[in-house]
Amino acid sequence: MTPTTEVRANSAAAVPAPARRRIDLARYRDLSLVPVLLVLGVIGFAVSPAFLTSDNLLGVGQQATELSLLVLAEALILIAGRMDLSLESTIGVAPVIAVWLVLPDHGARFNGLGLFPSWTAIPLCLAVGALIGAINGFLILKLRLNGFIVTLGALTLLRGLQVAISQGQSIVNLPGSFTYLGSTSWLGVPAAIWICALLFLAGGSALAWLRHGRALYAIGGNAEAARAAGIRVDRVTWAVLILGSLLAAFAGVLYTGHYGSISADQGNGWIFQVFAATVIGGVSLNGGRGTLFGALTGVLTLQLVVNVMTLAGVPPLWNQFLNGAIIIVALIISRFASGEQQE
C-alpha cells in the first residue's frame, strides 16, 4: 500500500457488492478468547488438582476484580475513541486523598485532616475520581490538548500527589467502612466479584441497548458522522472520561479493602496490562469497536495464565515474560480470527 490518493478510492470501490447471509467473522471477534479460556482451564486442570477448586478460582476472581474495573473503564473510553493512561494512578490517589480527608489529625502513624466523618470515605473517593476525569476532560475537550500526553502527564502528576500525601508509606489505619466492600463475602463469594460482575453487566447492557451507549460506538467510529446525527459528541466523551475515572477510584476502594491497606505503589504499572487486556479482548485502539464481554475475557485470560503457571510451578520471576508473551500471542490470534488489520 502506498500513501497516495488512489488507495482510498480503490479500497472504496473494491467493497464486494452484496454482503447478506455471509458469515461475519468480525462480529465474533469479541468471542475469540473464549476458546483460549477453555484451553487454559483444561491445561490448569491437567497441571494441578488445586486448579479446579472454588478457593483457587475465587482467589483468581478476586484478584481480577480491581484490574477488570480499570479494563471496564478503559474499554468504554477506547470505544469512544479516546485514551486514558491516568487510570492507574487514580486507583491509588483517590483512596489516599479520601482517607487523608477523613482520618483524625493526630494519634496514628498516618495523620489526616479529619475534615469529614469517616463514613464519607467512599463517596469522597468516588468524588475525587470524578474530579480527575472532569479535569482530564476539560484539558482534552475544551483546551483541545493531546489526550495521550495529557493523561500521561496526569499519570505522573497523580502518582506524585499520592506519594507526597502519604509520605511514601502504606496507610494501614483505615476506616472500617472503606475496607468493607473489598474484604467481605456475600453468599460465599467475595463481594468484589459480585459488584464487578454487576458493573460489567450494567455497562454491557448500556452499550448494547441504550442510545447513549450506542453513541460511544458512533463517536469512536466517526465523530463527524455522530455529530451530524445529533449526538453531542463532546458532552458524551466528557461523561465517559468522568465515568472511567470514577470506576478507577472505585477499583481503588476494592483494592484497598482487599489488601487492608493503601500501598504507596498501588496500581503502579498497571496501565500496560489494562491496555493489553482490553485490546486482546477485541476493543479497537482506534475506537468504535469491541464489547465489554470481550474486554472481560481479556482480563480473565491474563489472570488465568499467571495462575496456571504458578500452579505448574513456574517461578514467579517468569510472570512478566509470560504476560508479555500472552499479549502478543493473543493479538496474533485475534488478528487472524477477525481478519482485520490492526494498524
Binding site: 441497548w209 467510529g221 466517526n222
Partner: protein
C-alpha cells in the same frame, strides 16, 4: 410529514445570499430556487461558491445577507437541527456512514429508541429499518454491517436516512465522484424513482453529461455569483460551458511561450503503452519527445493523478509498460523510477512533497542523498552547495539553505519540491497540479520552470485540472473515467477542453483542426 400534495411555492428559495470569510467573498448576491419534484443541477468550477451555498442551505452556516425560505416559510433558527432536517436533506461528499455499525443502526443513529433510558429493541429497529429501506426501494439487508456495503449502497442508505426526517428536498453534493459507471446508473434510477414520489433535488456535479441525463433545470455559479438559471433543454453544452468558464480576459502574457520554441529531434524520452490500473485508468498510451510538454487533463475521478503517480512508481499497474529514454522501467517501484530518470512533483506538497520542519537544503536533496558523500554519508557542505545551486537556479526566495521549508511561502515551497524532482537530473518530469495553492506570480514562474526543463531537451508531463497549468503544454490529453477521450494541440479553447474533461466527448482528434496554430 411526507405530504407533497399542497403546493406552497418552491421547496427552497434563496435570494440575495452573500457570505464572506475574512477577505474572501464566498458568495455574492447569489440565488437559487427549486420547485417541488424538480431535479435541479448546480454547476460551477472550483471556487464558484457551491459548497458555501450547500452549507447555508443546510443550516450549517448563516448567510451574511439574504433571505432563505423553505416551502414559502422562513428558514428555521440556526442550531435547530431537527427543524432543518425536516426541511432539507443532504448527502455530503464525505460519507457519514459509520462502518462498524449495522445498516439499521446507521439509519436510526441517535434515535434508536424513543427515550434515552428506554432500551433499544434491535428486532424492532431492524424491522423499522426494513420498512424505511423498502419505502425508498433500497435493496439492502438492515442487519448487514455498513462496511460490507458497496459505495452506491452506502449512498442509498444515506439518502434513505436523510429523507427519513421528513424532508422532500435533498441536496446531493457530488454523489457520483466515487461511483463507477454501473453505480452511477443505479443511483440515477433511484433518484428518478424518488422524483416520481415528489422529492426535489439539488444535484451538484462536475460532470455535465450527468446534468443532461438527470436534471431538468440548471443553475450556473461562477466566481461566487449566480450566472444563469435555465431549463436544461434550452441551454446547450457549449452555452453551459461558456457560462461556467466566462469570457475571462487574460492577464498579461506569460514570460514563456509555447509557439516559438524549437523542436528537438531524437527518440522519444517517455513511452507508455497499454498501462492499466484497476479502478483508475485503462489502456493508456503516450509518447513524449524531447522538448515536449504534455498535459494530462481530467477532473477528480478521471484517473489522471493516479496515472502520474504510477509513472513515479507509487502504484503498480495491472498491465502495460513504461520506457524512459529507450530503457524499460520496472513499474511500481519509486527507486526504479528515480533511477530511470523520472522526476516527480507530487499532488500535495504537504503530504507527499516536503518534510516541513527540515531545511530547504535537506528537502531539495532528499532524492539524491547517495550523491552527497562517500560510503552513504551525507556531507553538510555538499548538501549546502547542491541546495545553493538549486536556490539560485530556480530563484527560490529563502533566507538561506538552512531555513526550515515551512517558513517559505507556498510558491517557494513548491519550487523546493520541483528542485527535489530536478535534483536527479531526470529525463522526464512528471508534475501533478504543480501550481496547487500558489499565487499567480509563482504560478507563472513554476510553469516557466517546467517549460525550461523541456526546452533543455527533456520531456515534461503536467497532470492537472487547472486550465492555466495546461496552457504551457504543447498538447493536452483529456481523460474521463480512466480513458483518454480527446487530444488537443496547443491553441485549444477553454470550452473545448472543459467539455472534454466533464465527459462530453469533444473532438477525439483535433490535430488537423488546429494545425494553423503552429
Amino acid at each position: 410529514m411526507a405530504d407533497p400534495s399542497p403546493v406552497r411555492g418552491p421547496v427552497v428559495e434563496a435570494d440575495g445570499i452573500s457570505k464572506r470569510f475574512g477577505a474572501t467573498v464566498a458568495l455574492s448576491d447569489a440565488r437559487i430556487s427549486v420547485a417541488p419534484g424538480e431535479s435541479h443541477a448546480l454547476v460551477g468550477r472550483n471556487g464558484a461558491g457551491k459548497s458555501t451555498l450547500v452549507s447555508i442551505l443546510t443550516g450549517l452556516q448563516n448567510p451574511d445577507t439574504g433571505t432563505l425560505r423553505f416551502n414559502g416559510q422562513p428558514a428555521p433558527a440556526p442550531g435547530d437541527t431537527d427543524a432543518w432536517r425536516s426541511r432539507v436533506a443532504c448527502v455530503y461528499q464525505r460519507s457519514t456512514i459509520i462502518p462498524a455499525l449495522t445498516v439499521a443502526e446507521n439509519l436510526f443513529l441517535d434515535r434508536q429508541s424513543t427515550g434515552s433510558l428506554r432500551p433499544i429493541s434491535w428486532k424492532q429497529l431492524r424491522s423499522r429499518a426494513g420498512e424505511l429501506l423498502a419505502e425508498y426501494g433500497v435493496d439492502v439487508d438492515p442487519g448487514a454491517r455498513a462496511e460490507h456495503l458497496s459505495v452506491e449502497q452506502r449512498q442509498f442508505v444515506e439518502i434513505a436516512r436523510a429523507l427519513s426526517f421528513g424532508a422532500r428536498f435533498i441536496i446531493l453534493d457530488e454523489p457520483t465522484a466515487k461511483l463507477d459507471a454501473r453505480g452511477i446508473e443505479k443511483l440515477f434510477d433511484k433518484l428518478r424513482s424518488l422524483q416520481q414520489q415528489g422529492v426535489a433535488f439539488l444535484f451538484i456535479s462536475h460532470h455535465l453529461q450527468e446534468v443532461y441525463d438527470l436534471c431538468t433545470t440548471v443553475t450556473v455559479y461562477r466566481d461566487a455569483r449566480h450566472i444563469v438559471t435555465a431549463p436544461v433543454a434550452e441551454l446547450d453544452q457549449q452555452a453551459l460551458v461558456e457560462a461556467m468558464t466566462g469570457d475571462r480576459a487574460r492577464g498579461s502574457e506569460p514570460a514563456w511561450s509555447v509557439t516559438g520554441r524549437t523542436l528537438h529531434d531524437g527518440a522519444p524520452l517517455l513511452e507508455v503503452s497499454g498501462l492499466s490500473l484497476d479502478g483508475a485508468y485503462q489502456d493508456f498510451s503516450l509518447t513524449a519527445r524531447p522538448g515536449e510538454v504534455v498535459g494530462l487533463a481530467g477532473a477528480a475521478a478521471s484517473g489522471n493523478v493516479q496515472l502520474g503517480e504510477t509513472l513515479a512508481g507509487l502504484h503498480r499497474p495491472r498491465a502495460g509498460t513504461v520506457t524512459v529514454a529507450g530503457r524499460p522501467v520496472r513499474t511500481g517501484r519509486v527507486p526504479a523510477a528515480l533511477a530511470a530518470g523520472i522526476g516527480f512533483v507530487p499532488e500535495d506538497r504537504h503530504i507527499q512533497g516536503l518534510v516541513p520542519q527540515r531545511s530547504v537544503a535537506e528537502n531539495a536533496t532528499l532524492t539524491v542523498t547517495d550523491q552527497l558523500g562517500p560510503f552513504g554519508t551525507v556531507m553538510p557542505s555538499r548538501t549546502r552547495a547542491f541546495a545553493e545551486r538549486m536556490i539560485s537556479g530556480l530563484d527560490i526566495k529563502t533566507p538561506g539553505p538552512s531555513t526550515p521549508v515551512s517558513a517559505l511561502s507556498g510558491g517557494n515551497q513548491q519550487k523546493v519540491v520541483i528542485a527535489r524532482a530536478l535534483a536527479t537530473e531526470p529525463h522526464v518530469l512528471v508534475a501533478i497540479r504543480p501550481t496547487n495553492g500558489v499565487d499567480i506570480k509563482s504560478k507563472e514562474s513554476l510553469l516557466g520552470t517546467v517549460r525550461e526543463v523541456a526546452d533543455a531537451g527533456k520531456s515534461a508531463l503536467i497532470v492537472s485540472d487547472e486550465l492555466d497549468d495546461l496552457r504551457v503544454c504543447d498538447r493536452v490529453l483529456a481523460m474521463f473515467h480512466g480513458r483518454v477521450v480527446a487530444e488537443f494541440e496547443h491553441g485549444w479553447s477553454d470550452e473545448q477542453l472543459v467539455a472534454a474533461m466533464e465527459g462530453m466527448a469533444g473532438p477525439t482528434d483535433t490535430k488537423e483542426d488546429n494545425d494553423s496554430h503552429h
